[in-house]
Amino acid sequence: MSELEAAERLPVYIDIREHMRKTRSGKIRTRARSKSNLTIRLTILVLVALTIYGFATFDYKDIDFTKAAVGTWNNAKVLFAQPRLTYSTWGESLKELFVTFSLGALSTIFGAIIAFFGALLCAKNIANPVVAGITKSFVAFIRAVPTILWVLIFTVAAGLGSVAAVIGLTFHSCSYLVKAYSESIEEVDAGTIEALKASGASFWQIVFQALLPSSISRMTAWTFLRFEINFTNAIAVGAAAGAGGIGFDLYMAGSHYFDLRELGFITYIVLAAVIVLEIVATRIKATVK
């Protein structure tokens, strides 16, 4: 056999059997034993166990699942196949859509300005590690509180309306953008910063002459991506906190008028807006990566 000849011809003196690992039943193992594979399996196992435990312990309140599922399917058909406006008009809906858009825009602008300074405190290549650590934990705290809770908390202080919504949305924008911005800044060439420092430039000169020009395009892209998220969040906040905009219309249609057709119509308006934003965002993302 030609293959055997080859094995003889090449200098093989090692006993390959010494290197084989066997299973308990005497079969040759093939898998690599690595910490990473083990961790992945363990993680999946724990998550599946939690899921099963969850399903077993949930309080279903004796719901007739089949009936509810069939009902939902029929309702979905009405919602998506027969959209119609009854309580609102085209003009009003578009105006509310614009309000939501504006809520998103305002919170993105505020978020971007605050996050810019936050990022300067956080970016590894320019910040003091202690200050960066404190800023990062503060940001983590802000992010951990759901947006809707921030909105409701500020509603108590500022009253119901756009102020609470914008501030609530701004909080999360900040924490997201601080991370994104500081990563953009960290990508600026260390040599550039060092050279500027060596030539005696002040901190703000470094920021505006070196950091900003070289990371502004990435930062702009991230800001737009955040705007997309803020827009969808503004819808949710409008529905759950009564902060206005198209989200509130959704809430009214669903929970006050119980009008599936109206809900469907507004859903389509929102869907159109979100898909346009998503297409733009995907294009922008491609330029960042």
Binding site: R9, I16, T30
Partner: protein
Amino acid sequence: MIMPILEFRNVSKIYDNITKALTDISFSVDEGEFVSIIGPSGSGKSTILRCINRLVDVTQGSIFFDGHDISQADKKEIREVRKKIGMIFQHYNLVDRLSVIENVLHGRLGYKSSISGAIGYYTEEEKERAFEILAMLGLTEQAYKRCDELSGGQKQRVGIARSLMQEPRLLLCDEPIASLDPSSAKVIMDYLSDINRTMKITCIANLHQVDVAMAYAKRIIGITAGQIVYDGPPGDLSKSKIYEIYQSEEGELITDAK
């Protein structure tokens, strides 16, 4: 007369109805030959290899492998063809997170039913064979390492081991040493040459470096813009022919510096 193991008859390939990759290519390869295909990047070298194992469909013409026309083969026939043809890649194309031995065993997938291959059921003989091949390529110690822990040269040897596991009749090498340092590149080329000589496996290798091709191949096919401009032994390859293949003037190629 030896029957050619591979024959291209007037093969053309056009991508997306616009880009002409190959125009009217005809050549045949005899069993046991070591053929090197050279040419500038984008000239269609990769496309030729990928037409052979049908990773790419040909637009026109026919390809005969072992006497059968495979250019019109259906899914099942393609599978039969592929398991007889090993392929190694410039970027090794291993499953980085699996062990070396698992990657070598992937060479057997073509021989298995869909299910037993999917769940990774291999016989003890296959595993032992995999170890033998690894020993041949000097990788025994690495058998249980994950592929992402290996060096480039080692990864390429795993790639070779995977293709040998297929018991191939033909080995397609797509720029096998383009990502390697010179000494690992020599090791890989020596292994390929050994495999070709002692195991009588036909080799077709795309190579960037003319000097490597001249040193290892018994026959060179030069390709420019999707057409064969040279086909013959390395000894007859004149300097002016090389310039024609690479469409350059004297002094523009790095080989000139020597």
